[in-house]
């Protein structure tokens, strides 16, 4: 059962990595604007000249 020590260590480490990833994302400002990217992705690269009615 000593393997448990190792596994728990692994799980904590993994969780820590996720926590760090979250901090990194925060610091990069990924959560600062949660609205605009959702709209931006809907734009086509090029729409034919005549606008749809």
């Amino acid at each position: 059962m000593n393997i448990l020590y190792f596994l728990i260590g692994c799980s904590v480490l993994l969780a820590l990595i996720f926590l760090m990833a979250f901090f990194w994302a925060m610091k990069n400002g990924q959560n600062d604007d949660t609205y605009t990217p959702g709209v931006r992705i809907l734009f086509d690269d090029d729409i034919p000249e005549n606008p749809k009615k």
């Binding site: 059962m1 728990i8 799980s11 926590l19 925060m26 605009t36 734009f43 729409i47 606008p51």
Partner: protein, 796 residues
């Protein structure tokens, strides 16, 4: 206005969707309502940016003719203060553009490089209505950038109070980090605590202390980092001899931690680490929910956001823009049409017709003669004038209002229900804790310590602390859907206590558009045609209203058309000189002192006058009747009392109606009401109400375009939601009821827990179940109850 019999084909402007009153503007077989819209379309079509019109129908905004001068942006010092970053080749600037409102705006502003390839990149933050532009400063100056943005209808707002920088300072990153840490630890601790709850087999006992120690390690960041604010706040409040809810919370956290350390180190138990982490986690979530930020609104604006950043100085060498803070007494400045006068000055040259409506509430422009003092805050609506500064910007009549003591203690302390309760709660809690400890002292010393800590742990008012934030934030989001934006959650409770209402007149209870027009005199059909023909040449709002009111599609060519700003218009139609304008323009005696009077002269014959009165908001009478049932009603206006007789039918409280009130008068009036122990809510719109809004217990700025300037206040109400005011007050009262009920529920949980705690029988498992259970009950109860009440009040 009622519609006439003859059918009228509505032509909508392709750019902004407004009615085209005059069909003079065509381009590529599209109709436009004005030159502005047409020219924007031209620019966009020349740059293959017509996709702008594909994402939304009529995405543009009407182009108001604002003659803004941006020469000051060429001053290196001013430009440098606006730029975020600048080096040899590129500059970055963040601009606040109030016109941003739809996905087309987003698309266009992110494709600016197509219009001018000196723009490297532009990024929008839609909710904040900001755009970050990176441009090559060698090829394009800041001034050119701003002019380009204005030319496509996206004029940035550049004012003395830097809205952009102040807004970006506000950040809840710190709190989110704390929540993340607490959540992380909570999850792991739960995992490690489960074996203990389900019971460990004998061969697993070796893990017990390992799990315990690991739990303790996880508890450390929760207590020291995430829960830090509770200790700080509790300590600060204790020093000020105030007991708030943070005190029992901090005590609970501390005791839980100490007892867990003791139990785990001594190997006598599993401790309460999971309860501890869960508690901090939920509390922080509650705090986060409470902090609602409206990115596009600012509640802290003052006169500075109404003022420009620079002013044109007249020197011997010529005109030169200087930053506002360099303006000195004795300087001579040039104010062009539509510019704001930044300081108290003396008129030196030119025809001053100044619109003080925003400062004094008086709707009529004021004419000034040479040598007269012109106070800051007015907007020149005639040609350019020259003024000499007699007082620095910070000491003008207008800004002196901000130096009033109402603005000194910036934070109005709103006494919330939970503050009141927590005072008693903490005392009762300590009595029970010491009481049970004292009792057990006589029988079982070990149990005394156990029951003492157990009481403090179980009574830790987690659910209590959560009921207010969750209820109030639910109310906030309901209000928000009805276009009523509150500064923070405490305002809801304040709203529930209001017993006196004070209204401003102009802009608050009057509608932004439309007039009640009436004509005194006789007009034949032909006369109407003549008037309409002349008036449709003018862009003046009154002329436009007149054309709309006359509703005649037939019109004649006009020659020798002249528009004299501030006076009137004239033109030759069918060999008759038609004059439309003020009494002095027509050289006649004015009939009354009313401002909205337009006199008509056709040929040599005086035909009569139109009177324009501002329209009241929809349902004003019903609104007053509803509110007047329960609340004290007052009306303060900076205007003349010419509207009094029109108001009395809907506002019968004549003794509470006051006209010609200066900003200071309004403030004093509110102060006097408050001296009679009244809870006053003020509704106003302009700078002239700023003092009163600040002084009142609850200041609401009413605005018809939330992007426009609104003075500092506790809440911003969109004109569209004005009718719902009684419902808002009702909902606030219901919200307080919900808080009371949920306090009741959480107290019940506490009492049940205490029953076991005083006996010293508190197992970690019991605490670990009770705490989250009570939390979940409270969260779901408050949000369901609040929404049910909102439905009852017809707010959702």
């Amino acid at each position: 206005m009622n519609t006439q019999d003859e059918p009228k084909v509505l032509t909508l402007c392709y750019h902004c969707g407004n009615d085209c009153d005059t069909e003079q503007y065509h381009y590529e077989d599209k109709n436009f309502c004005c030159v502005g819209c047409q020219s924007v379309y031209k620019i966009l079509s020349e740059n293959q940016l017509c996709n702008y019109y594909a994402y939304n129908d009529t995405p543009g905004k009407t182009q108001n003719e604002t003659a803004s001068h941006y020469d000051y942006l060429d001053e290196p010092k001013i430009a440098a203060s606006l730029l975020d970053y600048s080096d040899d080749s590129i500059s970055i600037i963040t601009l606040y553009i109030p016109a941003i409102h739809c996905s087309s705006c987003l698309w266009l502003l992110e494709h600016l490089y197509k219009i001018n390839n000196s723009i490297v990149n532009s990024r929008i933050d839609f909710l904040k209505k900001q755009v970050v532009v990176t441009f090559k400063n060698k090829e394009m100056s800041l001034r050119e950038l701003i002019i380009m943005l204005s030319s496509i209808g996206y004029e940035p707002l550049i004012s003395l109070q830097d809205v952009v920088k102040e807004q970006n300072k506000v950040s809840d990153r710190d709190l989110i980090k704390k929540i993340a840490v607490a959540g992380f630890c909570f999850g792991n601790v739960m995992l490690l605590s489960f074996p203990e709850y389900f019971g460990l087999a004998t061969f697993e006992e070796q893990f017990k202390s390992f799990f315990g120690w690991l739990n303790l390690i996880f508890a450390l960041p929760v207590v020291i980092y995430s829960g830090r604010d509770y200790f700080i706040s509790a300590w600060k409040n204790l020093r000020n001899k105030v007991l708030n809810l943070d005190f029992p919370l901090a005590l609970g956290i501390a005791i839980m931690f100490i007892r867990s350390v003791y139990e785990i180190v001594s190997g006598t138990g599993a401790g309460f680490v999971d309860t501890l982490c869960g508690l901090v986690f939920f509390l922080l979530i509650g705090k986060w929910v409470q902090q609602r930020t409206y990115h596009h609104l600012s509640f802290e604006r003052d006169y500075r956001s109404y003022f420009p950043v620079a002013v044109t100085l007249i020197e011997e060498a010529g005109e030169k823009p200087i930053p506002m803070d360099e303006l000195k007494v004795g300087d001579r400045i040039l104010i062009r049409n539509n510019e704001v006068i930044p300081a108290d000055t003396i008129l030196m040259k030119g025809d001053a017709v100044i619109d003080f409506s925003f400062v004094t509430g008086e709707s009529a422009p004021v004419q000034k003669v040479l040598g007269e003092v012109v106070y800051a805050g007015g907007r020149q609506i005639n040609q350019a004038i020259e003024l000499e500064v007699i007082k620095p910007v910070s000491q003008s009549y207008l800004t002196s209002l901000w130096n009033n003591e109402a603005f000194e203690n910036k934070k109005k302390k709103i006494d919330t229900f939970s503050d009141t309760v927590s005072r008693y709660f903490s005392v009762v809690l300590l009595i029970i804790a010491f009481g049970s400890a004292g009792y057990w002292m006589f029988f079982d010393t070990a149990r005394a310590w156990q029951s003492f800590t157990a009481v403090l742990i179980i009574a830790c008012p987690c659910a209590l602390a959560l009921s207010s934030p969750f209820t109030l934030s639910a109310v906030l989001s309901i209000f928000d859907k009805n276009k009523f934006y509150l500064k923070n959650t405490a305002v809801v409770e304040q709203l529930a206590r209001i017993n006196t209402l004070v209204f401003d007149k102009t802009g608050t209870i009057t509608a932004p558009e439309g007039f009640r027009i009436s004509f005194e005199g006789d007009l034949s059909y032909e006369d109407q045609c003549l008037i309409s023909s002349v008036a449709r040449n003018s862009g003046h709002p009154l002329s436009r209203e007149l054309v709309k009111w006359i509703k005649i599609s037939e019109y004649f060519p006009v020659s020798e058309y002249q528009e004299i700003p501030g006076k009137g218009i004239q033109g030759m139609v069918r060999n008759k000189l038609v004059k439309i304008g003020s009494a002095s323009f027509l050289n006649i005696q004015s009939v009354n002192k009313d401002t909205g009077t337009v006199y008509i002269q056709i040929g040599d014959h005086y035909a009569g006058y139109f009177s324009f009165r501002q329209k009241w908001r929809n349902g004003l009478k019903e609104l007053f009747a509803k509110l007047g049932n329960k609340l004290n009603m007052h009306l303060l206006s900076g205007d003349q009392d010419s509207e009094k007789e029109f108001l009395i039918p809907s506002f019968p409280w004549v003794e509470n109606m006051h006209f010609r009130q200066s900003p200071q008068d309004k403030l004093d009036y509110i102060q006097n009401l408050q001296k009679d122990n009244k809870k006053v809510m003020m509704l106003g719109d302009g700078l002239n109400d700023a003092g009163a809004l600040k002084q009142s217990d609850l200041g609401i700025a009413v605005t018809d375009n939330i992007n426009n300037f609104s003075p500092g206040c506790d809440a911003i109400l969109d004109g569209a939601g004005f009718e719902k005011l009684p419902q808002f007050i009702h909902q606030a009262k219901d919200a307080v009821k919900v808080i009371h009920m949920s306090f009741g529920i959480s107290l019940t949980y506490n009492v049940v827990g205490l029953y076991f705690a005083v006996q010293g029988l508190l197992s970690p498992l019991f605490a670990a179940i009770l705490m989250p259970l009570s939390t979940v009950t409270i969260i779901s109860f408050t949000s369901i109850a609040t929404h049910l009440y909102a439905r009852k009040n017809k707010l959702i």
